[in-house]
Symmetry: C2
Subunit: 140 residues, 2 copies
DNA sequence: GACAAAATGAGAGCCGTTCTCATTAAGAGC
DNA sequence: GCTCTTAATGAGAACGGCTCTCATTTTGTC
């Protein structure tokens, strides 16, 4: 199987490796600031602009995907085939859902709109944040 | 009888009426800038800060809802019971889907995560943007 | 009409992100 | 291993959406 459209970045620098390793290690989506902080902590100092540029490059090559969460920050994570996620309202954690729960909508609902993709965010509380008290209010 | 949880703003100003009328008239979600521009065009000049403050008030009282779209702007629209939307990749139009297509996910998928709400964005092209050439690539 | 308090307007400030440009270093050719 | 080209980086200024501050205006009550 070829890499086809997702050709790798043309130069292999330690900064790019650091950014990719940071995202891989996280296991969930991170903001650019957070990637910057973690990459610095893990090794040599890297510029914030470089992190943004590297993320942009990775986005273009299809290596990572980006998404907005409620707080207005853009989060980055390893690209996956689908785009369904669990978002914890307690700690802000943003992690992929294993599997897709969105069926193809009936055309009567979309009324002339051609659907080419989707993104689903399921809000709630992770096991850690639920804690003993057990919250439960919904959010948009 | 009490005013319940969604009590209206305490003072009725023409600025608040203008913002609400603008959102109602649009029929889809608008950015704060766009609401500001349309409200100005429709009547007296209103300050951008006032638009933001008014939207914040409306959000608190549950009159409107906010959401992020891919371009990083926050969009505002009349609050509805559910949160499924059609997003046109051509013109950026963001409008509610009539009805909900998201089933309750099986707990095996969410693994300890308690789901309290969701938001779905269906990407694609509206009838106007599809045009004669018929695009079709997907986006995250 | 007088008064208190909420709401507004104008613009400065904040903060995440992008741009600019001099410098560095990856990778190709020899 | 050395040289050369040019993509990539670092530092910090600039940008843009949004929020904050404070003097002024307006609403609703008495």
């Amino acid at each position: 199987m070829t890499r086809a459209a997702t050709r790798p970045p043309s130069r292999n620098t330690w900064q790019r490796q650091a950014v990719l390793r940071t995202i891989e290690a996280a296991g969930c989506h991170l903001s650019a600031e957070e990637i910057h902080r973690r990459a610095r902590r893990a090794g040599r100092p890297i510029a914030l602009a470089t992190v943004y540029r590297t993320l942009e490059t990775f986005l273009r090559t299809g290596l990572v995907e980006s998404a907005h969460i409620g707080d207005g920050l853009v989060r980055y994570g390893l690209a996956s085939d689908h785009h369904d996620h669990l978002v914890c309202l307690g700690c802000g954690q943003w992690r992929p859902l294993e599997g897709c729960v969105v069926p193809r909508p009936r055309s009567a609902l979309t009324r002339g709109f051609v659907v080419t993709g989707h993104r689903l965010e399921l809000y709630g509380y992770c096991a850690q944040c639920r804690g003993p008290q057990g919250r439960g209010e919904a959010r948009p």
